[in-house]
């Protein structure tokens, strides 16, 4: 089926839930369990909790608002149908949602690139995701987000740029080497070191949550 952007909103059966400031694994687990039972209120709360994050990632990858919106609809419809398959003991809900969102957005980006609709976006160096994250934005986000923003901002620029090329554009080591002109070994090292630092930065937050 071709993609479609509905022309107008349909009335929601739900009243909007207030956004949750916390994203503790325990909260997520109970919320997801209710979504798995097709509890629409829980689904609304889950949407309110993660929509901004997942839309931001979708938009970063796709660069086009309409496509980011379609990606969001795909992701949340998938969550609605498959919430029961996620094992909360094996990982964070946030990780699952981010990886689904990223995977579907990259699939969509590749389809669009094949259609040459966003080839210019994908190739435009000005749109490459190497912008320094805004530390002030951390004030408004969760503690975990703050840790990531601080960690990314503290990475050497080449490490951060290569991590983001891998994450937001789905590039392999060789593709990053081709794109940047850097040696393959350098790229592997930078990604490994960058990810290691990110992991260390998240460790204290995870201990607090645990």
């Amino acid at each position: 089926m071709s993609s479609i952007r509905p022309g107008s909103p349909c009335p929601s059966p739900l009243d909007r839930q207030p956004a949750s400031g916390g994203r503790s694994p325990g909260d997520d687990a109970s919320l997801l369990a209710r979504v798995a039972r097709h509890d629409q209120a829980a689904f609304g709360a889950l949407y309110d909790r993660y929509a901004t994050l997942l839309y931001s990632v979708s938009l970063k990858i796709l660069g086009i608002e309409v496509e980011a919106e379609e990606n969001m609809l795909d992701v949340f419809c998938q969550v609605w149908r498959t919430a029961g398959t996620f094992d909360v003991t094996r990982g964070r809900l946030e990780t699952w949602l981010l990886l689904i969102t990223r995977s579907r957005a990259l699939d969509r980006l590749r389809r669009l690139a094949r259609q040459e609709r966003v080839a210019a976006v994908a190739e435009d160096p000005a749109l490459l995701p190497v912008a320094l994250p805004d530390p002030e934005a951390a004030v408004l986000s969760s503690e975990r987000q703050q840790a990531v923003i601080r960690a990314l901002a503290g990475l050497p620029e080449p490490q951060r740029a290569m991590l983001e090329l891998a994450f937001y554009q789905g590039l392999s080591h060789s593709e990053i080497a081709e794109r940047t002109g850097e040696p393959l070994g350098t790229i592997k090292t930078r990604i490994r070191l960058g990810l290691g630092k990110l992991r260390l930065a998240l460790a204290p937050v995870q201990e607090v949550e645990a």
């Binding site: 022309g7 929601s12 097709h38 609304g44 969001m72 949340f76 789905g170 490994r192 990810l195």
Partner: protein
């Protein structure tokens, strides 16, 4: 493969960016190295967390409503559950296969790392099935009005069919033989009333020139349907060339 080389590749495995030639030696190393397996599990959350660093942009206000219109209406129409047992069956089969093949914990980890991809694939299949169910429900419902879409300049034969369920405000449009939209352009579908042209969404034909699109929009008194060529992303009102038109007939 050394542990250092394995850890270089582990990030790409987690992000599903691994080059095919690297997969087999990496899997072989992981199968025999508990330390690297532990490392790989540890970086999975760190890799996903890169997304937390993105500047936050709020989605459009109406997106939530559109999402619920997608998940709620089909449930009412078909009265069926949205659960997808095949995904669970696949997961169980994967684990069983890993064990049957004498696979170690490493094999289970590899299946785990591929699980998100397979879940995505299963969800797509479920989505396709649901779409077919929705389309069937729409076509079988009463009070459906139809339109044949023609090219306005060469109206030899229809190239598309429109089904409009006025009670459910649902539209189903099937089009064949459409060329790809020009670069930077997209096709946009419109419901035409006596006083307005209401967007039913943008679409792209597949490689065969076929497109099946579904939209939900109230368009009381719609008289016709049209397809125009607009800038990528679509337009609020039709500005580009009209390439297909069709008058809506009486209820079938």
């Amino acid at each position: 493969m050394t542990c250092e080389a394995c850890r270089d590749l582990a990030a790409m495995l987690v992000l599903d960016n691994l080059q095919e030639g690297d997969r087999q030696p990496l899997e072989a190393h992981l199968a025999g190295c508990a330390s690297c397996r532990e490392h790989m599990e540890g970086i999975q959350e760190a890799a996903a967390a890169i997304g937390l660093g993105v500047p936050m942009v709020a989605p459009p206000e109406d997106l939530r409503h559109r999402l619920f219109s997608r998940i709620v209406e089909p449930t009412v129409a078909t009265g069926t559950s949205r659960r997808t047992p095949p995904a669970r069956v696949w997961m169980a089969a994967s684990i069983a296969l890993a064990l049957a093949c004498g696979g170690s914990l490493a094999a289970a980890i590899m299946f785990g790392s591929q699980l998100a991809h397979e879940r995505s694939r299963n969800a797509e299949l479920a989505s396709m099935l649901m779409s077919r169910q929705e389309q069937t429900a729409l076509l079988l419902a009463g009070a459906v009005r139809v339109a044949s879409l023609h090219r306005p300049t060469t109206p030899q034969g229809p190239v598309g069919q429109v089904f409009w369920n006025r009670q459910r405000h649902s539209w189903l449009v099937a089009i064949a033989g459409m060329p790809s939209a020009p670069v930077g352009k997209t096709y946009q579908l419109w419901a035409v009333t006596s006083s307005a042209k209401l967007s039913l969404g943008t679409f792209e034909p597949d490689a065969h020139g076929d497109a099946v699109v579904q939209a939900d929009r109230r368009a009381s008194g719609a008289l016709a349907v049209a397809v125009s060529v607009e800038a990528a992303g679509g337009a609020l009102q039709p500005k580009g060339a009209i390439v297909l038109v069709g008058a809506l007939g009486h209820p079938s």
